[in-house]
């Protein structure tokens, strides 16, 4: 196991995690798009308003000044509606993200608690060469910091490499890389995981059955993630591979290094997404300039785009209803949801899909803007909770506290997303809360609760 890990290049994949959360709407780019966006967002809200608006616009086409005065009022009304829309759907999106994050964490914690393999120390990755088996505390701390520096620099290099590839349109290379890494995850890691689970429960399994199961699992996974598949199945596969990746991290990262890495990567995430020269931000902007879906990246999407049609003749006066028919499934799948690994974890919440010109539909349907979260976020959340489950002596209390902290962090991040409407890093707030709660619960709350429980006192 360890030799394989040391020699394989594929370990690089997992290390390139970048996370960010993007808003549901593209940030204002050209004004044409802008008008379209706001009107369309407004339309998506009140059916009545939409209908009157769109039915009015053909009448107003000839009437230049009427539309002039009408539009500013309309736009401010649209802004309010947009805000309300954001907040209304914000709550739904939060729930839509809670479920997969919770599921991933449950899988990781259940595995950690039951399968001994993932808590045994069996060597380290080559990315964390310094051992933590040193006698003195200072030395150990130094080693973990050095490990972190190496790991983060590997991640930065990989990210920059990826951004360069994307900029120079080497799509085939990126696709090949992603397919390779997802192959490895779906087959190799699943094989190891299944092997360990069967060992733990002492279940006898013959190789032909095992290979059949893994072959089916892996093949369906590849198809679902890279090509087309039912949304639920795709989501399930993404959750499973995030969990597998998180388990690998939990096993192979030494104790203190893991915590320092978690902290460092959330700082890196913050910088990479928000700084003007940050690689992730450049990636996002490049993709938006090219008007492409962000990337064949590792993103988890919670909903598909539905068809939005608005009635409107071609000669729309600027404020008029926008006509965009967004193809639901097609665009969604064209986003190339590639499996996790590493490269870019961008969590974007934005509606993907190029805007296609108008077809006039009479009926107005509501637009389902799914929220997207990068798989790296899933992984690191699960790493935090898994580490808490593995190493905390207070057992379940610490795990639960970290879980609640991460979910609240996610909530706050989504709230900020609704306010700022642009790409946001999903890691910092959650990981900060998680770390604070882990250390404080483990050291402060645990003795308190244990003492209370030993006297059977309730507070």
């Amino acid at each position: 196991m360890i030799t394989f890990m040391n020699n394989s290049d594929s370990e690089e994949e997992p290390c390139n995690e970048r996370t960010s959360l993007m808003s549901a709407e593209s940030p204002p780019v050209p004004s044409y798009q802008d008008g379209l966006q706001t009107t369309e967002a407004g339309e998506a809200q009140a059916h009545r308003k939409r209908r009157t608006g769109s039915s009015r616009s053909p009448n107003n086409i000839a009437d230049g000044d009427m539309s002039d005065s009408g539009v500013p009022v309309r736009e401010s009304a649209l802004e309010n509606e947009e805000e309300e829309l954001t907040l209304k759907y914000g709550a739904k999106h939060v729930i839509m993200l809670f479920v997969p994050v919770t599921l991933c964490m449950i899988v990781v914690v259940a595995t950690i608690k039951s399968v001994r393999f993932y808590t045994e120390k069996n060597g380290q990755l080559i990315y964390t060469p310094f051992s933590e088996d040193t006698p003195s505390v200072g030395q150990r701390l130094l080693n973990s910091v050095l490990n972190t520096i190496i790991m983060i620099s590997v991640i930065v290099v990989m990210t920059v490499f990826l951004v360069l590839l994307y900029k120079y349109r080497c799509y085939k290379f990126i696709h090949g890389w992603l397919i390779l890494s997802s192959l490895m995850l779906l087959f190799l890691f699943t094989y190891i995981y299944l092997g360990e689970v069967l060992k733990t429960y002492n279940v006898a399994m013959d190789y032909p059955t095992l290979f059949l199961v893994i072959w089916n699992f892996g093949a369906v996974g590849m198809i679902c993630i890279h090509w087309k598949g039912p949304l639920q199945l795709q989501q399930a596969y993404l959750i499973m591979i995030s969990a597998l990746m998180a388990l690998v991290f939990i096993k192979y990262l030494p104790e203190w290094s893991a915590w320092v890495i978690l902290g460092a990567i959330s700082i890196y995430d913050l910088m990479a997404v928000l700084c003007p020269k940050g690689p992730l931000r450049m990636l996002v902007e490049t993709a938006q300039e090219r008007n492409e879906p962000i990337f064949p990246a590792l993103i988890y999407s919670s909903a598909m785009m539905w068809t939005v049609g608005m009635a409107k003749p071609d000669t729309a006066v600027r404020g008029g209803a926008s006509q965009q028919t967004w193809d639901a499934a097609e665009d969604g799948r064209e986003n190339h949801r590639s499996p996790l690994h590493a490269d870019s974890q961008m969590s974007e919440t934005r509606s993907p899909g190029p805007t296609r010109p108008i077809t006039s539909f009479e009926e107005l349907e509501e637009e389902e803007r799914g929220v997207k979260l990068g798989l790296g976020d899933f992984i690191f959340y699960s790493v935090l909770v898994g580490k808490a489950a593995a190493t905390a002596s207070g057992d379940w209390n610490t795990t639960l506290a970290c879980f609640v902290a991460i979910l609240i962090g996610l909530c706050l991040t989504l709230l900020l997303l609704a306010v700022f409407k642009k790409a946001l890093p999903a890691l910092p707030i959650s990981i900060t809360f998680g770390l604070v709660f882990y250390f404080s619960t483990d050291n402060l709350v645990r003795p308190f609760m244990d003492t209370l429980a030993s006297h059977q006192l309730y507070i």
Partner: protein, 227 residues
Amino acid sequence: AFFWLVSLLLASLIWFVSVHLSDREDAKLQYGLLVFGAAVSVLLQEAFRFAYFKLLKKADEGLATISEDGRSPISLRQMAYVSGLSFGIISGVFSVINILADSIGPGVVGIHGDSPYYFITSAFLTMALVLLHTFWGVIFFDACEKRRYWCLGLVVASHLLTSGLTFLNPRYEASLVPIFIITLCTGLWAFVTAGGSFHNVLKCLSCKQEDDSRVMMYSALQVPFED
């Protein structure tokens, strides 16, 4: 749940600091500090419940202003129930999950002379506590809303009383029975506060369909909203 956790964190911090500053060997002092810690924790929980109420009130106002018909989609009563329930769940889970985890493993209950009914009484106490938190949430929010501060004081006092009763614990008849009585009374109080009444219960149980003699007006012609 987050707010409850933060309150627990602060209370543990206070207890921890006090324990470290004091003499470890003195058992009576440690027990006293534990009582003190528990009391501080109860007070902090109620304080954070109040803080959560303030936060929800603000959110409620925000939601009401931007919604179409001027009312927020969730009523304050529903929020009170949810808040109480989540406090109860997290408090119950924190109290009982380690006990549950231990109960799977091999062992004998009470082998060192403690009560052999530890697990079952813990289960009952946790259930009572979860229910109590829910009821307290409803009453608390309602009292804050209507500014009946004596209700607030009563809630805090009953929480302190419940926690104090658990100190009598190996003597289960002295602690479990009063706690359940308190739970029932608080439940009735919360039910009345939330607007229930005997009449409502009867109506609910009999599943009667109200005969609707209202006439529905439906107009296909709708006036444009913006004009």
